[in-house]
Amino acid sequence: MSDVPFKNPGWAGNTGEFDLTEDQVRGDDFVGERPKHGGHASGAGTMPYMLAGKNPEGPLFEGEYQERFEKILTRYPTKRAALLPTLALAQEIRGHVSPESMDRVAELLDLSPAYVRGVSTFYTMYNKRPVGRYLVQVCTNISCNLCGADEVVEAFLNYTDTELGRTSEDGNFTTIEAECLAACGYPTCVQINSRYYENVTPAEVPKIIEHLKAKGGD
């Protein structure tokens, strides 16, 4: 069915259960269309938006994003409680949480900028620096490490010609190590943007990267 020969057991063929093509499941980012305004308020803060049309200089919380921010606020008893989804929204817009974003979020939520900095640096899923179009997070925790995660990291770095935590020259790939991705049954697990690639070996790395490169922009 697919011309991408992964041995990933995540795709079990078309069972008729889901109305999704393999391409959508193996895709590099999102499944289906998700509106920028967040849809229903109940999901506005939690939907896994990542890196869609990010612009590091983009205006924060304007237009549809403003609408989504307001929906997020309705879901929490206090403004302070809405901090995490608001930071996630800022990261979706700009690709990372910059000092300016923290300052703006603090202003919107009546918090001190220092507090917002403390929170955003605590969580590893907020990128504090700009990352490439594809953020490659290789699990190097016990299970994956035993199955050669370090070599997978090396392979990603070599193939994209960059260093750990740095972005490749074409601006596409940033590779970092991640702690447990909760896929210990399928080591080595690699998370690329919001997608898992499981049972990854160093030999497969070029294929994955070429596949992603072929997908190009959103």
């Binding site: 000092p99 300052d103 918090l111 001190s112 900028p113 220092a114 900095r117 403390g118 640096t121």
Partner: protein, 546 residues
Amino acid sequence: MAELVKLTIDGHEVSVPKGTTILEAAKQIDTLVPHYCYHPGLSSPAMCRLCLVEVEGAPKPLPSCVTTVTEGQVVKTQSEEALGHRKGVLEFYLVNHPLDCPICDMSGECDLQDYVHLEGRKHGRGIEPKRVFGRDDFGGDVLFYGDRCVMCTRCVRFMNEVEQDECLTVVERGNRSVIDTFFDEGLEGTHWHGNVVDICPVGALVSKDFLYKARAWDLDHTPSVCASCSQGCNVLLHTRDNLVHRVKPRENLDVNAWWMCDHGRLDYEWMNVGDRLEAPLVRGNEGTRTAKSWKDALADLLERASALDDKSVRAVASARASNEDLGALAELVGAFGGGETVFRSPRAEEEIVLKGFPTLARRTDLAPNVKGAGLLGMKRVGADDATGGLESVAGHSGIVVVLGDALADQPEDFGSKAGLYIYLGTHDSAAAQAAHVVLPITTHAEQEGTFTNHEGRVQRFWPALEAPGMARPAWLILGALDAELTGEAGPQTAAEAFAELSEAIPALGGLTYEDLGTRGAVAGTKGAVVGTQGAPAGAAAQAARG
């Protein structure tokens, strides 16, 4: 009176109010359980895990800073188990600590040093390299050495809870976590950040002003009162080689608790200024000034005074002078022939209130004894920057007395029309040129005395420095003159001077130095139980926080 709870700590029966923590209760038997994150003026997160004690019946060691006492509890702070737990925790504290005590400003007053010496292992077992943060300028007077930090977050909580300007936070996580501000936005613009240096149990937050100036063990500590505003914060003057090196707050829950403002903390250099008046100077007829002994100078002064026809007095006092000095001045003015005494004092535009302890503020009156001068019937004149207002004194033809006011804004012919012009000051001044007698006096750091703060609390201070040359406290000089004029014996000690004053001024209500103690008493409350002294510190802080 709160309900009392009886418990046993290290074999001693202790009875404390309900709700007291074990750590505070243990202070009653002079046992200080080691701790970092706990501070009586802040909330207790129980995150340093150092104050672990053994409680009979509890399955695990308990953090004594948050465990409240219960009836019949049996606590062992020094048992093998408790010591073992604390020893383990201390070893972890040293995993990344640089042990740069020889170049650390905190060395000698560091809780980590003390506790490791007391309860820690002799040798560390860590072989891994230590992680390194380096140092960071937090702005204001604060320098941060990240490697020395024990992450007790006292500073973060002080800024959140007491100053209520959340500009410090814990950044990052795990062993990379570190205290920081919002990027380059430092502590500038906050008025109480010097306190984070005081409450830092280790050398992570140090004062730039004090950096490398002295070793803690070389400093003498003298209880005093801050002279920078009328709040009257209790302080310790830390001195060495007859110089004040820094000012630290002294705990007094009725006035300043554990805190003081940066304005007062850094305003001490004036006590060290040299170029002092060191001997009485008597002006001859041809205008030259000659240094004389006290005996000769005062005899000369009295002789000149007795020859005068117009003995009405115009006096300029200073709100930086002690109650004793001002009282002696008032006596002398009366003995000469009566007259008006005025004083000038700078006024700030607004109060800077410490939000988490609102009875503490940098007051608008920037002198310590404005209230005291007022109680003695002295009149405040001049502008808010303490200039002008002396027209009636400058050209007075009788006796002019100046006490402690440097008259920096006055011309050289100030007092030149006076029959007798007496200038008592610490430094010479252009406006003192016409003075017939210039008498050297001491600053409050060099004498014993009292100030009356904005709410009427009379507080004692003690001499921290040696007075230069022949300088003497003003109350002693003025008292001696008064004694010559009236024939009564003058005061020989500051205590006598204050007792006399307190008899004469009904507002003081007969207070004595014994009544004042080290923490002062509000004028007119002799015999009444006031304030929160005596209550456990934690409970009082709780009450103060509301």
